[in-house]
Amino acid sequence: MSRFLRPLVTAAGILLAWELLVRAAGLPPFILPGPGRVLTALAAQHELILRHAAVTLSEIVLGILLGSLFGAASAVLIAASRHARRWLMPLLVVSQALPVFALAPLLVLWLGYGMASKVAMAVIIIFFPVTAAFLDGLRRTEPGWIELARVMDASAFAILTRIRIPAALPALASGLRVAAAVAPIGAVVGEWVGSSAGLGYLMLHANARMQVDLMFAALLVLAVMALALWLAVDRGARAVVRWQPETLAHDHQG
């Protein structure tokens, strides 16, 4: 069976079970609308949903870009300098001990109801997995390569930029995949805490007004968006580290 057909069959099965549950239990639409109603809501209110989706998407994309940039830069800094290691590492670990969700109200207070606070949430969530993954890669450079480069009279800077960083790109790629997966969480949590636009905001409002079908429609769009983003990052990462042997390759053909 083709790789596209299989998930479609699974999805169709879930939708069918959902519809059957709604009908058999006689659930009212404001508790759990059937998939048909959700699709109708999606079609009827697509302009509203897309407008909010655009806001959320920009927050997520900006968050991924900035978070990855900061994460990668601090990993390189920590790998390159002993001082940076001493000063930044504890900070990094402590930053992860703080529950990001508890920070959300504070960020909204400081950065306002607009996009900035949501982007900041996404950046904070992404920052650590990217830094940790990349740093791990930077630390594990094959020692033989470094020794060879030293005998070739390479400077520490050349070793970092031409050997350590390229060798750590596969590790950075795994960090970016995690980032793409968690960034939507940051953005939506930010929207829940306080905002005037975005899918999180729309869902909260729809929920309060018992428009559960609209809420599900927004959720569906959010899921599709997050999935597309993950796939895009995965594709991009694969293209950059093409040289890395893919031992699970058979898994992606089937």
């Binding site: 094959e142 033989g144 390569w145 020794e147 060879l148 480069a149 030293r150 005998v151 070739m152 009279d153 390479a154 400077s155 050349a158 070793i159 031409r162 050997i163 390229p166 060798a167 790109l169 580290v241 040289w243 890395q244 042997p245």
Partner: protein, 244 residues
Amino acid sequence: MGVRRLVYDGTVLFENMRFRLEGALWTCLLGPSGVGKTSLLRLIAGLAPGALVVTDDGRGLEGRVALMAQQDLLLPWLPVIENVILGYRLRGTTRAERRRLRDQARELLARVGLERHAEALPAALSGGMRQRAALARTLMEDRPIVLMDEPFSALDAITRHRLQELAAGLLAGRTVLLVTHNPLEALRLGHRLYVLSGRPATPRGPLLPKGPPPRDPADQALLALEAELLRELTRSAALLEEAS
């Protein structure tokens, strides 16, 4: 070169040791595993501190040493030809210079039989081809002193035999230190053979096989020497076991 005292992991590897590499000749260093062959090579390469290296012309060793290890150490993200000019890339070159270097690298790749694989990534090459690419990279450095740490030991017998011949031809005239645990390899390629022995270790020798390398491994005199070397190595291994 001389080493006052080298302690590794609480063990005194060398103490008041002296070792001389004759210019333009292949010196082979044999010895049981763990005796300190690789440590000695790393000392000369400047990868470990603690050695006092004196050269006949009084100049230091910086910029005059090339290294060839047991693993090919090719960077997997660079095509073979870029790996060959790696040293120049790391030291920094202009674009025009790089073009000239690539032409030179292509010639070297032709000499090791890899001209058709210049643009391939290392992963596409067999183990023997990769080690030939590493040899081309070593030659590209064009350094008077070449340090080799068991460069052929991971290869199958036929590939090893052919690569030994190739290396002997291409590195003739350079000062070579070949660390190996294979007596026959040392006898084929070396002008001066030492066995590193004892703890702290001292080089014993030299053994001087007759005739220019690469020698025919079927030569009777060579086989007699191999037996002698094996005896020496066995004695050295026994000494090492006693010491530890």
